[in-house]
């Protein structure tokens, strides 16, 4: 049998890789991809805890599905924003997007 | 353990299992071996059928539709034409264009074939004869179809060709658009059978779902035709517009794989339609003689495949804007309405104790009439608007014609 800690270690790995991507990538689309990685790590954690906790209680799966919905909405709106900024400023580098900073 | 003729497929599995266990293999390993063997047989039989027989069949029937003879040189009735084609494609030079992304370029055709072969894992051929009776079978079909979309975008991007990329983007936009009504309408068989498993859906069809939900069946059929990229929706390879679509840079057997995947896919939607709406292997006597069930299944599948070909050789290609309008302004709203109406009416019918089939038939009839009425009203409004635009124009022309003369 697979111990729960294996799943947690893997999910933690995915999360930190995603975090590194968010902190270090320049391209805004790449940052969004890294956020998707982090969200996936969260979902993996939720499902693992659901499976090793009380699988008859379905709430873990419900949480996971809600996170799916949030991830999809976030990707749709985030990418639309990036496209819009790209149209105006011809850049997708996160450090150049500083309209709100002065 | 004797051979039970009433349950031949189950018996064969049991025989093989006991044989392997007697050889001293552990139980889990035996099930893995059996799965691999079964998957190999399934993929081999279906791919050979698709690659050799279906291509011959399609060319032959297509020729008859167009008053030609079709392939008739290689073997009896040209039956070995597919093999000859395969040998020819194998011997063709395989060109990878300069600037292509080699790895992605080579993986794309493999994924295209895999996405179609994978669909057959959940198709029940006969009682007891199914690859994997997943309880999420319907969604599995949708999921594997998504991999096919990915292969298109990979092929188009890695070719380093404008037309390939443009073709891939159009194709993907089309595939994902038509996935929406397809997924929504799949809710109807799921609801009626109370399960997403393909076996449960077949078992639930005491009355074929085609009779219970004809509108849903229609939407599913149209949108899966579009998923395959068959005429009238073959914008994927509109020669006049985008040369040849996303697979333009492919040659030799890699192109052959895209072709096999396409032919195989249109056969597969015949099988899926059969399972979801035509009762799968069900028919008189199939409960007692499962072999008969297999015959029914194959017959129904080929009938649906014939209809796909019939449509292909009858209708002209639609324009891409017409196609998108068809999807987003007709199929998707219709699918939404069908799902809601079926859900409410079926529940009402059950609670009031009304007979199920007539109620559903009446509902679908009403839906068809309403849709036709709406379309008629829309067409009238459109015609009036066009006439309204034309009226002053006609006056101007008349005035202009009168002007110089007077």
């Amino acid at each position: 049998m697979i111990p729960l800690s294996w799943y947690l270690i893997l999910a933690a790995g995915l999360f930190t890789i995603g975090l590194f991507g968010v902190l270090a990538r320049r391209n805004a689309v790449a940052i969004l991809m890294s956020i998707e990685l982090m969200l996936n790590a969260v979902i993996l954690n939720l499902v693992a805890f659901w499976r090793y906790g009380q699988p008859v209680d379905i709430s873990g799966q419900v949480f996971a599905i809600i996170v799916f919905a949030v991830a999809a909405s976030e990707a749709a709106v985030g990418l639309a924003l990036i496209l819009s900024i790209y149209r105006r400023r011809s850049t997708v580098a996160a450090e150049d997007i500083n309209m709100l900073k002065w | 353990m004797g051979f039970d003729f009433n349950n031949p497929f189950g018996s064969i599995t049991e025989l093989l299992t006991s044989l392997l266990i007697n050889l001293g293999l552990p139980q889990p390993l035996v099930s893995v071996i059996l799965a691999v063997v079964g998957a190999g047989i399934l993929a081999g039989v279906t791919l050979t059928t698709a690659g050799v027989f279906n291509i011959w069949l399609e060319r032959k029937i297509g020729a008859r539709f167009q008053d030609r003879l079709g392939p008739n040189r290689v073997g009896p009735f040209g039956l070995f034409q597919g093999i000859a084609d395969a040998i020819k494609l194998t011997l063709k030079e395989d060109i990878t264009p300069t600037g292509a992304d080699k790895v992605v370029f080579n993986v794309a055709p493999l994924l295209a074939v895999m996405s179609v072969v994978g669909l057959w894992a959940v198709v029940p051929f006969a009682p007891q004869l199914i690859g994997a009776d997943l309880n999420v079978g319907v969604l599995y079909v949708v999921a594997i179809g998504g991999v096919g979309t990915l292969s298109v975008i990979m092929a188009g991007w890695s070719s380093n060709n404008k037309y390939a990329l443009l073709g891939a983007l159009r194709t993907v936009a089309m595939l994902i658009s038509f996935e929406i009504p397809m997924v929504l309408v799949l809710l109807v068989p799921t609801m009626l059978a109370g399960s997403m498993g393909m076996v449960a859906i077949v078992n639930g069809q005491d009355v074929w779902f085609l009779l219970l939900a004809p509108v849903a069946a229609f939407v599913f059929f149209v949108s899966s035709l579009a998923e395959v990229g068959r005429t009238p929706f073959d914008l994927i390879e509109a020669e006049s517009e985008i040369v040849a679509g996303y697979n333009i840079e492919y040659s030799g057997m890699k192109f052959g794989m895209f072709m096999v995947a396409e032919f195989f896919h249109s056969f597969t939607i015949g099988a899926l339609f059969t399972v979801l709406f035509l009762g799968g292997w069900r028919g008189p006597g199939s409960e007692t003689y499962p072999i008969l069930g297999l015959v029914y299944f194959v017959a129904k599948t080929f009938f649906m495949y014939f209809i796909v070909m019939w449509i292909r050789y009858t209708f002209p290609r639609v324009r891409i804007d017409q196609m998108m309008a068809l999807n987003w302004k007709f199929l998707t709203p219709l699918a939404l309405v069908v799902v809601m109406a079926t859900a409410v009416v079926d529940k009402l019918a059950l609670s009031q104790g009304w007979p199920r089939t007539p109620v559903h038939l009446a509902l679908n009839g009403t839906l068809v009439l309403l849709t036709l009425g709406l379309m008629q009203a829309y067409a009238r409004a459109l015609r009036r608007r066009v006439e309204g635009m034309r009226q002053p124009e006609a006056g101007e022309i008349a005035g202009a014609a009168v002007g110089p003369g007077s």
């Binding site: 111990p3 975090l19 590194f20 902190l23 499976r51 090793y52 419900v62 | 996935e179 498993g197």
Partner: protein
């Protein structure tokens, strides 16, 4: 080591390596394709966790929809398909150190807790029963009806918002074409 553990290690390795490739690969499209492989690996892990519904949902939503959306966005935001210039910003070394420390701390904490390593999978109810239960839970007034309906409002808001943000670009495009 049981067969299950071997499968887990294989899937985990694929997931982990492709996740690393997502953040380091210089070509954005490649990063997107690596992301697809990562997501497929996680879907495989869901199968191992006996959550087949979530596994297919992962493939349908993430690979079939979100990954396609991201690849479209990559294609739309580039003058050329080849990337040039740095992909990492000037802070990448610091970010690497921080994330490595964070990972070390997380792994240490997980290994510290003996109940996590000892936890074994309890016997699970029939999976189709669970699926029907999930459906019931989503529309049951006493359970998750509120998140269910709020999710639809969230999706509606996302749809309207994203179209609203993206629409002016289409208008601008038309103007450019007319000029």
């Amino acid at each position: 080591m049981t067969a299950m553990q071997a499968v887990f290690l294989l899937l985990g390795l694929v997931t982990f390596i492709s996740a690393v490739m997502v953040v380091v690969s210089p070509q954005l499209i490649h990063a997107g394709l690596w992301l697809v492989l990562t997501l497929a690996g996680v879907a495989g892990l869901f199968v191992l966790l006996e959550a087949p519904f979530l596994a297919v949902v992962q493939v349908v939503i993430y690979i079939g929809a979100i990954a396609i959306l991201i690849i479209f966005a990559i294609m739309l935001t580039r003058r050329m398909l080849r990337d040039e210039g740095r992909q990492l910003n000037s802070l990448w070394a610091g970010a690497l150190v921080v994330t490595l420390i964070l990972y070390a701390v997380l792994v240490f904490l997980i290994l510290q807790e003996p109940s996590l390593a000892a936890a074994s999978q309890p016997i699970q109810a029939e999976s189709s029963v669970l699926l029907a239960d999930l459906g019931r839970a989503l529309v049951d007034v006493d359970r998750f009806i509120l998140p269910f309906e709020v999710a639809s409002v969230l999706l509606l808001a996302a749809l309207i918002g994203a179209i609203y943000v993206a629409r002016p670009m289409m208008a601008g495009e038309d103007r450019e074409r007319q000029e």
